[in-house]
């Protein structure tokens, strides 16, 4: 049987287009067939998780049964008319939801890089969706549990492998309605444009930076040992590769969603134009950073303020930044460079906020003009690229001779 990485090669796109055509004609005439959508989802999931990767397919099925049961049980508990809404039951539910992902992330660290048998492509992204479901059920913003809708939300195939991370309530609204013809044509136009920009990003720019240039500069940097100009080259080349590869992929996922009449949120908004680190996280991998903002940072701050853990609001915000970003580092994987990357961004947020406070206080003395704006963008860009150098793991190879 054929087996593909999502959006990995031209054949995938041809098959995708053929499969989407009847669905698109349907939407154009105001009809949405959930039956047909499920069928093509099934086919594309088979292409991703079947064939030689059948073991990951089994892992996915078991994972789904586990998580749907978990959310169903928690939801039943919360829907009881006299639900006590105990904090510990909520915490235990979240921990149970995260356990499979934690096992998958920790296994390579303790077993010399071996991957866990319960892992599959996209497990992190599905876990985000499950955790958000439990949190919103706790808050009472999600009041009913529909196992089928929840399953459709988790398995929405255009975004299953690497996001963008949608929100359940938003997804269901699109999934259960049909856009007007005018609106749908607009979506198709945007979707097709995104897919073509995606081709340019992923198959041309990311190819040039990642496949053509990166091995050369990495080789030079390894020859030079320690700090070298070639290492600076690695930093910028890797950063460009990372952006164009991931932004390209995200554009495919968003574009294909649009063709299906689902407005999956965008993941990038010109991140290299950010004027500070806070601004950067509002533009880079947005669905991830907004997820962290809404489900970790804000909840953490809420909890700490309500229980008056720290006297000062500045301390509260700072502690929450560092914890938030550290969790993100751990989420990327249990290696020193992902964790340092998280810590680096946590501290960068702390410094950023301190500067913003200082600037507000001394507005009169601090110049503000086109030059300072460009300087801010330049500085932010370099701080970000440096963080990506940490993230890349190349330093691990350079300093400790570890194979990538």
């Amino acid at each position: 049987m054929m087996s593909f990485d999502p959006y990995g090669n031209p054949t995938y796109f041809v098959l995708l287009f053929i499969a989407l055509l009847p669905l698109m004609i349907g939407l154009l005439y105001g009809r949405r067939s959930h039956w047909y959508e499920s069928l093509i989802s099934f086919v594309f999931l088979m292409l991703t998780f079947g064939g030689i990767k059948w073991r990951t397919g089994i892992a996915l099925i078991i994972y789904l049964i586990y998580q749907i049961t978990l959310v169903w049980l928690y939801s039943r508990y919360r829907q009881r008319p006299d639900s006590p809404n105990k904090g510990w039951i909520f915490v235990v539910s979240v921990i149970l939801a995260i356990i499979p992902l934690a096992i998958v992330k920790i296994t390579p660290a303790v077993h010399h890089g071996a991957s866990s048998i319960i892992g599959f492509l996209g497990i992190s992204y599905l876990t985000f969706k499950v955790v958000q479901m439990i949190m919103e059920t706790r808050d009472g913003t999600i009041k009913e549990f529909h196992p089928v809708l929840f399953g459709q939300f988790l398995l929405f195939f255009p975004t299953i492998s690497s996001g963008p991370i949608d929100r359940y309530r938003r997804f269901v609204k699109d999934y259960e309605s049909v856009p007007t013809r005018e609106k749908y044509l607009e979506l198709v136009e945007k979707g097709v444009r995104y897919i073509f920009i995606g081709f340019f990003y992923k198959f041309i720019l990311a190819y040039i930076f990642g496949t053509v240039m990166l091995p050369t500069v990495e080789h030079a940097a390894l020859q030079a040992h320690g700090i070298s100009w070639a290492l600076v080259g690695v930093m910028y080349t890797y950063s460009m590769d990372l952006f164009f590869d991931f932004a390209g992929y995200s554009l495919f996922a968003v574009g294909v969603s649009y063709l299906m009449g689902i407005e999956t949120p965008m993941n990038f908004n010109q991140p290299f134009k950010s004027k500070n680190i806070k601004d950067f996280w509002n533009r880079w991998h947005m669905t991830l950073s907004f997820w962290f903002r809404d489900f970790i940072y804000m909840r953490l701050v809420f909890f700490m303020m309500k229980h008056k853990i720290f006297k000062s609001r500045i301390t509260t915000a700072n502690v929450a930044y560092v914890i938030n970003m550290l969790i993100m580092g751990f989420w990327h994987g249990e290696t020193w460079y992902y964790i340092v990357y998280g810590l680096f961004h946590g501290l960068a947020m702390v410094v950023n906020d301190a500067w913003l406070r200082f600037k507000k206080k001394n507005q009169a003395q601090i110049p503000h003009n086109k030059f300072t704006e460009y300087f801010a963008i330049f500085l932010t860009f370099n701080v970000v690229c440096f963080s990506f150098l940490i993230f890349s793991g190349f330093l691990n190879q350079l300093w400790f001779g570890a194979r990538p």
């Binding site: 949190m135 919103e136 808050d139 009472g140 913003t141 806070k278 903002r293 809404d294 940072y297 804000m298 909840r299 701050v301 809420f302 303020m305 309500k306 609001r313 509260t316 915000a317 929450a320 913003l356 507000k360």
Partner: protein, 78 residues
């Protein structure tokens, strides 16, 4: 100005140090007046001063990004 509106505006002034009453439609997030931290404080103050419980997952930024929207939101919840 009704009571809810003046309470909301005074909470915002306490939190941000800025009087926003003359710019009811200014985008508080784009202008850097409010951030996630400020949003949480706002929710806590609404709870303390007006007795309105807003869970964090109800806080959809685009629905709370101007003083006018916040006032409307609070009034709809009273």
């Amino acid at each position: 100005m009704d009571e809810t509106q003046s309470t909301v505006l005074s909470i915002l002034q306490d939190l941000t140090g800025e009087d926003v009453s003359s710019n009811m439609d200014t985008n508080l997030f784009d202008e850097g007046i409010l951030d996630s931290m400020g949003s949480v404080q706002l929710l806590l103050e609404l709870q303390n001063q007006l007795g309105i419980e807003v869970p964090v997952s109800e806080f959809e930024r685009s629905e709370w990004d101007t003083p006018a929207k916040i006032v409307a939101k609070v009034e709809s919840m009273q």
